[in-house]
Symmetry: C2
Subunit: 494 residues, 2 copies
C-alpha cells in the first residue's frame, strides 16, 4: 500500500509533493522497480486531490525517468540505476584529465596554477597594492554610464539584445575610428574589429599569425599574460631587450635578417612592465625595418589615452602606409576594465580573417555594452572622463616620482620616469636578496609589488619589480613608497 502525506499549507505545490515522495520511496527501495502505481483516478480519490494534479505528478515522474510509460497510463516503477544523487555522484571525475586533454591545454593549465597563488594572497585592508594594473574604481563614471545603458535599452531595446554583427556595433566602430584619428590613425569602421577586451584581440592574433616554423619576436621584459598564451600556441620566441628609448633596434634588425619571423609584438607607449616610451624616430625606424622584411607589427596601444605629460609620439600605426601594422586598443585602461571591450585596427583583409576566427569562437560580442559605450562617447562623457583621468594621473605620477626621489635610497634602487601611463619599473641592487625574498619582505611591510620574473620570457638575475599606481590615490602612493623605502632600509642594514 502506497502511503503519501500531503501538506496543504506548504509552499510546495501538491503535485510536486507527490513527485518528491514517490522519488524518495524509490530511492529508499520502498517502491521497487516493477511496482504498480494506483491509477490517477484511484490516487486522486485516496489523496482527496484533483485527478489532473495526480496526472501532472505522474507526467513529471515519467519525464524524470521514475516510472514506465505504457499507452494511456503511467503506472510501473521503472528500473532506474543511473541517476546521480548527492550520495552517488563522485567528488572527482573518473577521467584522468591529464590523459584526455591536449598537450597545449596542459601547458596553459600549469602556467595558470603558477600565477594563481599570487592572486589569492590574502590582503589585509591596510595593504597598499602597487602590484595590480586595475584602474582605481573610485574614478569610475558609474552614474553617467548607467544613464547611457538606460537610454540605449529604452531607445534600441530588442536591437541591442539580439545577435549583432560579427565585427561589433557599427556606431561604436565609427566612434573608435574618429577617436583614432585624434591619434593620427586613419581607419574606416570596416578596418576595426571589436573584441572581448584586448586579451581576446591578442588571442585572435596569435591564432591568425603564430605559424609553426616561424618565430615570434617579443620585447624582454614584456606583457606577462601574453607569455602563457604564446606557449599554448607553441610559438618559438625571439626576445629583443628593452633599451632606454624602446626595444633594441639593432637586435631587431639582426633577428629579422637571420631568422624567419611571423610577427613582432611591441608596446611603444609606457611599455608593460618597464613604462618605457619609444621616440618618434625609434618608431619610424622600427616600422621601416619591419616593412623591409614584410613582417606584421602588432602594436599594443593599451594606454594610448594616458599621455598626460604630453610629448609622446603618435602610434606606429599612424605612420603605417603599407598597412602592415595591426593595432590593439582597449577601454579597459581608461574607462572600465570589466566592460571587456577592446578592438583591433588593421588592413581590411586582415580584419576579415580575424572576424572569421572570432565568428566561430564566440559568434558575436555583446551589443548592449558596446552601444552604451558608444552613447557614453557621443554624449561627450568619454572626452571629459579621459581629461579627468589625465589630470588626476598626471598628479599621481608626479607624486609617485617625488616620493621615490625623496624616500628610496639611490645606492640601492633605480627606476625610470615614465612619460605617462601607470607603470614604474624598479630595480634593486647591491643587496644580496632574491626576488622572492623581497616580495616577502615587502608583504611584511604591507606593500605589494609585482615580481619582475613574471615579465621575462627567460630567467634573469636582475632584481626588478613593476609598480603600478593605477588603483591608488596620492596619499596611498606616497605611503606605499615609504613602506618600500623602510623595507629596503631595514633589509640592507641586516
Amino acid at each position: 500500500m502506497l502511503l503519501l502525506q500531503l501538506d496543504r499549507k506548504s509552499h510546495n505545490p501538491i503535485y510536486l509533493q507527490i513527485v518528491n515522495q514517490i522519488k524518495e520511496k524509490t530511492a529508499s527501495d520502498i517502491l521497487k522497480p516493477g511496482t504498480k502505481l494506483p491509477s490517477t483516478r484511484q490516487m486522486a480519490e485516496k489523496l482527496g486531490v484533483n485527478r489532473s494534479t495526480v496526472y501532472k505528478a505522474y507526467q513529471e515522474l515519467w519525464a524524470q525517468g521514475y516510472i514506465e510509460s505504457r499507452p494511456g497510463s503511467y503506472s510501473k516503477i521503472r528500473k532506474r540505476p543511473k541517476i546521480a544523487t548527492p550520495e552517488l555522484k563522485l567528488e572527482q571525475s573518473t577521467l584522468a584529465w591529464n590523459h584526455v586533454t591536449t598537450a597545449a591545454s596542459q601547458r596553459i593549465y600549469q602556467d595558470y596554477l603558477k600565477f594563481k597563488p599570487e592572486q589569492s594572497t590574502p590582503q589585509t585592508k591596510d595593504t597598499i597594492n602597487l602590484a595590480q594594473l586595475d584602474i582605481d574604481p573610485r574614478l569610475f563614471p558609474v552614474q553617467d554610464f548607467r544613464r547611457c545603458v538606460n537610454q540605449i535599452l529604452m531607445d534600441q531595446g530588442p536591437k541591442v539584445l539580439g545577435y549583432g554583427e560579427y565585427m561589433g556595433y557599427k556606431p561604436l566602430r565609427e566612434t573608435i575610428a574618429k577617436r583614432l584619428q585624434m591619434h593620427g590613425i586613419l581607419a574606416d569602421s570596416d578596418e576595426i574589429l571589436i573584441t572581448n577586451g584586448s586579451q581576446n584581440g591578442i588571442d585572435l592574433l596569435l591564432k591568425l599569425l603564430t605559424n609553426s616554423g616561424k618565430k615570434v619576436v617579443i620585447e624582454s621584459p614584456t606583457y606577462a599574460i601574453i607569455l602563457p598564451l604564446l606557449k599554448y600556441h607553441q610559438a618559438e620566441l625571439v626576445t629583443v631587450p628593452m633599451k632606454k628609448n624602446g626595444l633594441d633596434l639593432n637586435r631587431l634588425k639582426k633577428t629579422l635578417e637571420t631568422q624567419p619571423v611571423s610577427f613582432l609584438f611591441t608596446m611603444p607607449n609606457f611599455q608593460n612592465p618597464t613604462g618605457i616610451t619609444s621616440t618618434q624616430s625609434h618608431r619610424e625606424e622600427l616600422l621601416s625595418v619591419c616593412e623591409a622584411h614584410q613582417i606584421p607589427v602588432v602594436e599594443d596601444g593599451f594606454e594610448e589615452e594616458m599621455k598626460y605629460f604630453g610629448k609622446v609620439p603618435p602610434p606606429i600605426k599612424s605612420m603605417d602606409r603599407q598597412n602592415i601594422c595591426i593595432y590593439l586598443g582597449t577601454f579597459s585602461k581608461v574607462l572600465f576594465p570589466g566592460l571587456r571591450i577592446g578592438w583591433i585596427t588593421a588592413d581590411k583583409e586582415c580584419i576579415q580573417r580575424l572576424v572569421s576566427i572570432k565568428r566561430f569562437s564566440d559568434l558575436t560580442s555583446s551589443y548592449v555594452l558596446q552601444a552604451a559605450v558608444n552613447e557614453f562617447c557621443e554624449r561627450g562623457y568619454y572626452d571629459l572622463h579621459v581629461k579627468r583621468m589625465n589630470r588626476i594621473f598626471r598628479k599621481r605620477m608626479q607624486t609617485a616620482i617625488k616620493a621615490m626621489q625623496k624616500y628610496l635610497p639611490k645606492e640601492y634602487v633605480s627606476w625610470n620616469e615614465p612619460a605617462g601611463g601607470y607603470l614604474i619599473w624598479v630595480q634593486i641592487k647591491n643587496i644580496p636578496k632574491h626576488e622572492a625574498e623581497w616580495i616577502q619582505i615587502f608583504k611584511e611591510n604591507r606593500v605589494l609589488v609585482s615580481p619582475g620574473r613574471y615579465y621575462f620570457p627567460h630567467p634573469t638575475k636582475d632584481i626588478c619589480f613593476r609598480l603600478s599606481i593605477a588603483m591608488l590615490n596620492e596619499q596611498e602612493i606616497t605611503e606605499g613608497i615609504k613602506r618600500m623605502a623602510r623595507a629596503i632600509q631595514k633589509t640592507k642594514s641586516t
Copy 2:
C-alpha cells in the same frame, strides 16, 4: 613668411587650427624640413593670441612628430617621411595574408567565406524567415531587464565594472546551480564556468579536448557552427547518424570499440538541426557506453528550458555519477541571444582547466550583464519569462505542425514532430531538384529555410531543410508553411 588664418568663430579650438594649418603646409611642402618656426612669443604676437595657445600647438606638433625638439624650444620643421596620410596609405596591405597566416586560420577563413553569402541575402520585408534560430525579439523582456541593469549599477556600480573572477559572477553561478537542480543536475558554483555564450564554451572545450591522434565523435547531421571550428582544431571526425530516438547507439559502441576517441558531442533535446529528442533509456545507454570507455560526453543543452510539451527526459548530466559529462548551457535560446552568456558545468578539475584557457584568452567575461541576469533571475522574472516562452512556443509549434499537416503534400514531404524547442527537420522526396534549386525556389516564394548541407559533416544525397519557428508568430508560421507548400506544388507539377 608663415601665414596662418584663424577663424575665431569656428568650433575648432585656436591651438588646433594652428596645428592643422602647419601640418597642411608641411604636407604641401610650403614648410620644408629644416624651416625654422617663429618663437612662441613672436607667433602669439603676430596672431593676436595667448602665448600658451601657441605653446600648446607647438607641443602637439612635436608630439605628432612634425617639429623637432631642442632643449627649451621647438622650432624646426622635422623631416617626416613616414606618416600615413589618406593619399599615401595603401588600400590593401603589402602583406600577402595567405603567406603570413596560419594554415588553421586559412581553413576557418574559407569556411567563413562559404557561410557569408547566405547571411547577406537581401530579404524583402515580406520574406518569411524559417531559417534563423534567433528567438523572436518581440518577446524580449527588455523593460524588466533594464530595471535589473539599473538596479545593479546603482547598488554595485564599481564592483561590476572592474575585472571579475575568471569563473564568472559568483551569485549568477549559484543561481545557475539552483536552476540546474530543477533539471536534475547537481552542481556547485565551482563546477560552473560562465562563458561568452555557448559557442565560446564549445571553443574552450575543443581547445581542452581535441587531441591529435584521437577522434571526435559527432552526430550527423549536427550543429553547423561546430564544423568549421573542429576543422580549425584539426579534429578527425567520426560521425554517428541520427535515428528516430537519438544517435545510433550501435554505431557509437562500434566506434568506441575500434577507434581512439577524445570525446562525443551530443544534443539530446530537440537536436540541431533534426529536432530529435532522445529517450530516457537512450540517454542511460549512451552514458554507460561512454563510461565503459571513459570518454567524456559533451552534452549541449542549448534548449533545456524549452521542454514545453512536457515528457522530455532529464539531461544526461543528471545521470552522470562518474562526472564524465560536460554540460553546456546558455541564456541565448530563451532570454536574449545578444547577452552572450552561457556556461559549462563539469567536474571541478575539468572546470579549472577550462578556466586556465579562458583566463589567458580573454581574462574575464563582463560582470555587468552577468549581474543583471542574476538580478533578473532573483526577482523571479526569469521563471515567469520561461513560462511565458513555453506557453507561447507550445502554441506556435502546434500551429506549425497543424499547418504542415494541412498544407504540405505528404507524398513529397516528410518531417518529424519535435518534443519542444524551435526546430523542425523536413525532407523533400520524389521531386528531381537539387538542394540549391529548392533554396532558390523557396526564396522566389518569399520564404527562407536553412539548407541541410550546412549540418552534414559529409555530403549527402537527401534533400533536407531545417525550419526554425524561433522568430515567427503563429500567423507568420502558417503563412511560411503555406508558401513552402505552394512552392512544392508548383515545382512538382512542372
